[in-house]
Structure formats: structure tokens, C-alpha cells
């Protein structure tokens, strides 16, 4: 028991817990394609035509099986952003991330869903909704989500970096 400078006692423990997660065939297919082609893929619902990233076997909105794989772009658009000042541990390194860091909701070209991820930029204050970003993958791909390192800020959209309209 710990005394904790109070009238009352505490029992302090740290639990180290591990699980094995079966990713399933669709997610495995995404990681295999990512590793083989250095490309992100989504799945498309044949009913509502929504393209999902991360891919999954069922469109929940239509309760419809999805079998179509769609190749996604290497760039995307920031649709939501924040500059964070609180400390978090980087799950890749286990070390605290330097603050401030930028989080973005990123709509990758060709996808209808968005992805929340880190945006790398020399100037956090100049990142705006609508700006373009590029996916940065790690050099040696391992076939898991850690292969997506972050998104590099490119700046406001220009005609050449405009997302492809579906």
C-alpha cells in the first residue's frame, strides 16, 4: 500500500498487457498493397459509391459488402486542423513529441473519409484548412499502419496540386 500523504491508502500498480489482433482479410490486403506498391488503397461501396480509408469489407451506411479496391492519390487536402500544445508520447519512438505539433484531418485524393494524422511543417501557424499535404511513407515498408509516418505540408492549393475530382 502507498501512503500518498493522506489519511487513506492506495494500491498502485502498472499493468503491462498484450493482445494479438487479427487484422482480417481486407486490412491485410491494404497492407500488402501498401508494401508492394507504396500506394494507399480504399474500398468502394457499390451502392453509395463512398470510398473508405481505412478500407473495410462492409459499408455500414448501406449494410453492403464491398469488393472494389480503389487506388488513392499520394496527396490530400487538410479539412480540419489543430496545433497541439500538450505533451504526448510518440507511439513510434516512445519519446515525447516536441510541442507544438500539428494534427490534421486529411482527405486523401480519391477517398471520401478522412484520416487524423500528424502534419509536418516549418510553420504551424500557417497551416490552414484547404491546404495540400503529401503522404510520407517510411523508407523500408513493413506492411503496417506505421508505414505512414506523417503528412508533409505543401501549402495552399495550386492548379497543379489540386485533388483529382471523382
Amino acid at each position: 500500500m502507498q501512503e500518498n500523504n493522506s489519511e487513506y491508502l492506495f494500491s498502485s500498480i502498472t499493468m503491462d498487457l498484450s493482445w494479438n489482433t487479427d487484422v482480417g482479410e481486407t486490412m491485410a490486403g491494404f497492407f500488402q498493397r501498401l508494401k508492394a506498391e507504396r500506394r494507399l488503397y480504399g474500398t468502394r461501396c457499390s451502392n453509395c459509391l463512398r470510398v473508405y480509408l481505412p478500407p473495410r469489407p462492409v459499408c455500414g451506411n448501406c449494410w453492403q459488402q464491398m469488393n472494389d479496391w480503389v487506388e488513392l492519390g499520394e496527396q490530400g487536402t487538410i479539412v480540419g486542423k489543430t496545433v497541439c500544445y500538450y505533451e504526448i508520447l510518440d507511439s513510434m519512438t516512445g519519446k515525447p513529441r516536441t510541442t507544438p505539433f500539428v494534427l490534421g484531418l486529411i482527405q486523401i485524393d480519391g477517398a471520401d473519409t478522412t484520416l487524423n494524422h500528424f502534419v509536418e511543417t516549418p510553420d504551424p501557424d500557417h497551416v490552414s484548412i484547404g491546404d495540400r499535404v503529401e503522404t510520407v511513407l517510411r523508407d523500408t515498408l513493413q506492411g503496417n499502419v506505421g508505414d505512414i509516418v506523417h503528412f508533409q505540408w505543401l501549402g495552399p492549393p495550386t492548379t497543379s496540386s489540386q485533388g483529382s475530382k471523382k
Partner: protein
């Protein structure tokens, strides 16, 4: 056979559980007085060990500050049941009936030959030299010849 992808994920989660006022007094007494305390419900008179704040039979609060509700129990009792496979430090997980208590205490029995263990065996607490205010301040319950 087809190989499926599986991910190994580990987490480290720190917790600090409050044991509450009644249990705080119980663990401190274990550490400072080397005494096992129980509580008596003033409605059904049941004595519970470890000491607790609530009688679930009567759905009634037990106030450990009231006389007659905070009970020092003897450190001896009898063996009721045990797991025949010893745990890794050689003790046997056991249910012990402390004299004067109405419920069974989950602890361990040991420092003896396993063949000696039988239901009704008289046991006495063996205390750790340096107490920390946890239930393992009692190393185990040890068979003893009845006085």
C-alpha cells in the same frame, strides 16, 4: 494453410486504487500492530474479514469507528480448502477460517510438508519481518499443533 496477418499490441497502464477508509485502517493495523481486524454488522452480527464498510446481507453500512463493529481477530484458524498445486514460491492458495470470523479468508498455506495438509488443520499466521501494509505482510498460514 493460409497465413493471416496478426498484430501484437502492448500497453502499459498505471493505476492507483483507493482502498477507502475502512480498508486503510485494516492495512495500517496489519503493518503497525500485526493484528488482523474484521468488522461486525450490528444488524446480523456477522463478522467479516478483512474489515469492510458494508454488510451485503443486510445492505447496511458498517461504521468501523463504532464500538463493537471493529473486531480484532486472532491470528489463527483452520484450513478449509486449498489448491493442491503449489504456486511458484511453494505456497498453496488456501481458504482459511479465522477463529471468530463468519467468512473465509483467501490466503496461502505453507512452510510445511504438503502431505500434512488436511481439512480442519490448525494454522497460525507467519509474519514478514518488515511489514508494508499489504496482505502479504502475512507470509502465509503455517500448521501449528493445537495448544
Amino acid at each position: 494453410m493460409k497465413k493471416y496477418q496478426q498484430l501484437r499490441a502492448s500497453v502499459h497502464l498505471p493505476f492507483s486504487f483507493a482502498v477507502g477508509a475502512t480498508a486503510s485502517r485494516f492495512y495500517r493495523a496489519l503493518r503497525d500492530e500485526k493484528t488482523i481486524y474484521g468488522t461486525r454488522c450490528d444488524n446480523c452480527q456477522r463478522v467479516s474479514v478483512p474489515a469492510r464498510s458494508f454488510c451485503s446481507h443486510c445492505c447496511k453500512t458498517i461504521d468501523h469507528h463504532q464500538t463493537g463493529q471493529w473486531i480484532a481477530l486472532p491470528e489463527y484458524g483452520t484450513l478449509i480448502g486449498w489448491c493442491e498445486t503449489p504456486n511458484k514460491d511453494g505456497f498453496f492458495t488456501a481458504l482459511i477460517q479465522l477463529e471468530g470470523a463468519d467468512n473465509l479468508l483467501l490466503h496461502r498455506v505453507g512452510q510445511c510438508d504438503a502431505v500434512l495438509l488436511h481439512k480442519g488443520l490448525h494454522l497460525r499466521a507467519a509474519w514478514k519481518a518488515s511489514a508494508a501494509g499489504t496482505i502479504t505482510d502475512i507470509v502465509c498460514f503455517k500448521p501449528e499443533r493445537r495448544a
